[in-house]
Structures are given as structure tokens and as C-alpha cells.
């Protein structure tokens, strides 16, 4: 099998993520265009501004408190520098290897292996691991998992994911507003173009689904990227591979709110769903990519 360097892997994923964002924006523009033709343009413009302001305020509030919300929702507690010496060493090592500032360290209850990173930028970075991860993973594996989260921080994934969430949210708000406004239109239909009207309805229904799928695809790309980043920091692919194998063997899934699920190291959902609808790539595929590094 052809060897791939982690630098290439990071570059490729960055490119792919970029294209995915472009697709989301194109969907948004096409949708807005179709709706504005269906309605009178100035009325649409007013809705758009209002929806944007509301979603922006909402997003800013959650963005600046995202770390607190995420940590509180999983009942995480600050790690103790003496009691959790190994974890502190792992995080400090990865912060040295990545050149990132030392993040705050939290531990969340739960026997399963998992971890997540949060914070709006590297200076406010937070890494949270489960008690299970501390108990089950050895030194190299714990370092690899922390390296994975450090890569999320270094790649500005939290900001990226939030930005995508804004666009996805905006698309569904527009679609909803448009579909609901149809109820009040009555016989003023002659204003707009009938053909565009039909197209707009179809798009308004499809667009939120499309952008949701794109959002999930981006989330999966970022996971591959963080895996590659972890290898860059540890220079030891077996660490991440073995950690993933242990996670795979660890059947019991973690119960976390769905809103924070994409932030985790591995999938937290219990159901067996198609890859297209998952926040994370299948573990076997992640292992396969890592084995080629």
C-alpha cells in the first residue's frame, strides 16, 4: 500500500473541507435566489436581514460560552495536577509537540474511552477526557488521543464547526420562513414567477437536508485531519491505532447530548446508521488510513 505523509493528509483534508464549505454556500445562494424570484425581492431581503441578525446573536452567545456549555453538559470536572499526573504530562507533551499553548484539562465521568476539545481559539483551548480513557489507555495511547484533540484545537476546528453550523442554521431558518410564509400568501401569488415558486419550494425542502449532510461530511473530514495531526505530534502511528482499537473493543457507548456529539473523539450514538448520517468516520477506516502513515 502506498505510504502517505501526515502533511499530505492534513493538506488534502483542508482542501476537501474548503470545497464542502463552498458547496454549502452555493446551496445557500441558489436557495436565496430562487426564493427571491418566487417572492417580491424586497420582502425577501427584509426576512434575510432579520434572520441573519437573530442567528448571529444566538451564535455569538453560544460561541463565547461553548466551552462552558459543553463542559457542563457532560458534568466535567477540572483535572488535578497531582492526582492526574499522567494526563498532565500527556497534555503538556502534546502542547510542546504542537507548539500550542497549554489547554485547560478536564475529566468527565464514564467508564468508556472518549475525549473532546473545546474553546473558541487555542488560547482558550480545553481538553476533556473520560475516566475510562485514563484507566484503559496506556501512556502512548493517551498521548495519541490528547494529540488528536490538540490537532482539533490547532486546526481551529471548533471555530470551523461553529461557522458551518451558522450557515446550516441560516439555511434552515430561511427554508422554514419561506415554507411558513406560504400559508399567508393566499391569492397574491401573481406577484412572483410560478415556475420559480415550485423550484423554491423544492429547494426549501431539500436545502436543509443537503447542508446537514455536508456538515456531517465536514465533521468526518476533520476527524481524519485530527488523526493525522495526532501522528504528526506523537510521530508514533501505533499509539492512535491502538487507542482506536481499544475504543472499538469498548462496546458500551457514552451517553452525551446530541448537540455536543460531533466534538467527541469517537461516535457517541448507539444506533447503526449509514456513514452519510454519522458525525465520525467508521473506526476501521480511520485505522486503515493511520496504518498507511
Amino acid at each position: 500500500m502506498k505510504k502517505i505523509s501526515f502533511h499530505d493528509q492534513i493538506a488534502r483534508n483542508k482542501r476537501n473541507s474548503f470545497f464542502l464549505v463552498i458547496i454549502v454556500f452555493i446551496v445557500l445562494i441558489v436557495l436565496g435566489y430562487a426564493i427571491s424570484f418566487a417572492f417580491s425581492p424586497d420582502y425577501f431581503f427584509f426576512i434575510m436581514i432579520l434572520a441573519t441578525i437573530i442567528s448571529l446573536v444566538y451564535v455569538m452567545i453560544t460561541f463565547y460560552n461553548s466551552d462552558k456549555i459543553a463542559l457542563a453538559s457532560v458534568k466535567a470536572k477540572k483535572a488535578d495536577p497531582v492526582l492526574h499526573r499522567e494526563l498532565y504530562h500527556a497534555v503538556e507533551n502534546m502542547s510542546l509537540a504542537s507548539g500550542m499553548p497549554m489547554p485547560k484539562i478536564y475529566i468527565m465521568p464514564g467508564a468508556q474511552i472518549n475525549a473532546f476539545a473545546t474553546g473558541r481559539n487555542p488560547e482558550h483551548g480545553v481538553i476533556c477526557v473520560t475516566e475510562g480513557a485514563l484507566n484503559i489507555l496506556n501512556k502512548q495511547e493517551l498521548e495519541a488521543v490528547v494529540g488528536h484533540e490538540m490537532a482539533h484545537i490547532a486546526n481551529y476546528d471548533i471555530r470551523f464547526v461553529t461557522t458551518v453550523a451558522i450557515v446550516v442554521g441560516a439555511v434552515s431558518i430561511f427554508s422554514q420562513l419561506f415554507l411558513r410564509s406560504l400559508w399567508f400568501r393566499g391569492n397574491r401569488r401573481s406577484q412572483g414567477n410560478a415556475l420559480f415558486f415550485v423550484i423554491a419550494i423544492v429547494l426549501a425542502i431539500l436545502a436543509p437536508i443537503i447542508v446537514k449532510l455536508v456538515q456531517l461530511a465536514i465533521s468526518r473530514k476533520r476527524e481524519f485531519m485530527a488523526d493525522a495531526g495526532s501522528v504528526q505530534f506523537t510521530r508514533y502511528p501505533p499509539g492512535m491505532i491502538n487507542a482506536l482499537k481499544k475504543i472499538k473493543a469498548d462496546h458500551e457507548k457514552l451517553k452525551v447530548p446530541t448537540a455536543v456529539a460531533p466534538m467527541f473523539l469517537s461516535d457517541t450514538t448507539k444506533r447503526k446508521v449509514a456513514v452519510l448520517f454519522q458525525t465520525h468516520p467508521p473506526i476501521d477506516k480511520r485505522i486503515k488510513v493511520l496504518e498507511r502513515m
Binding site: L96, A97, G99
Partner: protein
């Protein structure tokens, strides 16, 4: 005529932006190298700070092992002397010398069961081996920073700008193979 002037202005602005952004990128990457250099110093200092505590802890048990005790103390002194200098090579050498001396001390300590049961000693042993990892990671990041800088210096168009600003490719640190191996700690 007017079109030509507009195109000329756009081209000039474009070139200026290129020059500025490349100059800034060189500066950022150079600062990163300097910062990672400082990070290595921090770890080396931390390591030498632990030595007096370690000597204190083992004195009661293996005070008569004069040779190794002296070796460790001397290596620490030599390291402290070179830390403020800019000469990375001698710094690394002194750091490795201290690490080597500490390793032999821990090997000798294996013969003292009472010492191995000492909580304080075990703590220090763990910390020192953790610092060894950190030195290795800090060196690795130093090399990664140099790599980023050199990539900019040696690819087109960065190559031309490097010549323009008189920037030269940086040197990598040699990482001794042994320093990446995690020392086995047996209890």
C-alpha cells in the same frame, strides 16, 4: 491608456501585498523557531532544578557511591553554564550528558531496595523521565518549525523572497535515537 494605468496599479499593489505577506511569514516562522528554542531551555532548566532534590533524596541510601553522585552534580553544573548561551549544539550535548549521568544513577539505585521503596525518590524518578519526553517533544517541535521555515525558503516563490530579504534556511537539531526510547521503570 486609462486601462493600462489601472492594470499597472493593480499589478504594483499585488506585488506589494506579496512582499509584505512574505516578509511577515518569514518573521512569524522565525519567531516560532526562536520560541521553540526557548521551550527546550525551559525543559533543560526544569531537569537541572530537580537534580539537587534527587541528590538529597539518594544521599542517605547511596552516599558512598561518590563517583556517580559527583558525575551528576558536575553534569548539572555544566548544563547550567551553557543554558543561557545560543549555541544549541553544546547545550544539547550538556543536556544529554546530564541525562546519561542520571540514567546511570537510576541504574545503580536498582541495587538499593530501601531507596526504591522511597516515595520521594520514585516521584523524582518519574518526573525526570517525564522531562526527558518533554525535551524530546520540544526538540521535535523545533525541527518542525525549522521545516516550516525551510519549506518557505526553498519553494517558489518563497525562494525569491528569501533571497530578497537575505533569509537563510535554518539548521535542524539532531535527535539522538536513544533519547526517544522511553526508559523502562521497573518497580
Amino acid at each position: 491608456m486609462l486601462w493600462w494605468i489601472i492594470i499597472l496599479i493593480v499589478v504594483v499593489i499585488f506585488i506589494l501585498i506579496m512582499v509584505f505577506s512574505y516578509y511577515n511569514r518569514f518573521t512569524v516562522l522565525q519567531n516560532r523557531i526562536n520560541n521553540s528554542f526557548a521551550q527546550i531551555d525551559v525543559q533543560l532548566r526544569k531537569r537541572s532544578d530537580l537534580v539537587p532534590n534527587l541528590v538529597q533524596a539518594v544521599k542517605g541510601y547511596m552516599g558512598h557511591e561518590q563517583k556517580i553522585m559527583k558525575e551528576v552534580t558536575e553534569a548539572r553544573k555544566a548544563l547550567l553554564k551553557v543554558i543561557p548561551s545560543k549555541d544549541m549544539k553544546s547545550k544539547m550535548k550538556a543536556g544529554d550528558a546530564l541525562q546519561g549521568a542520571l540514567k546511570s544513577l537510576f541504574a545503580i539505585a536498582e541495587n538499593y531496595p530501601n531507596l526504591k521503596a522511597n516515595e520521594n525518590f520514585l516521584q523524582l524518578q518519574k518526573e525526570i523521565s517525564a522531562i526527558e519526553d518533554k525535551v524530546a517533544y520540544a526538540r521535535q517541535f523545533y525541527n518542525d518549525s525549522v521545516l516550516g521555515y525551510n519549506n518557505l525558503c526553498k519553494t517558489i516563490p518563497g525562494k525569491w523572497f528569501a533571497a530578497m530579504f537575505n533569509k537563510k534556511a535554518g539548521k535542524y537539531l539532531e535527535i539522538p535515537a536513544a533519547s526517544r526510547a522511553v526508559p523502562k521503570i521497573s518497580f
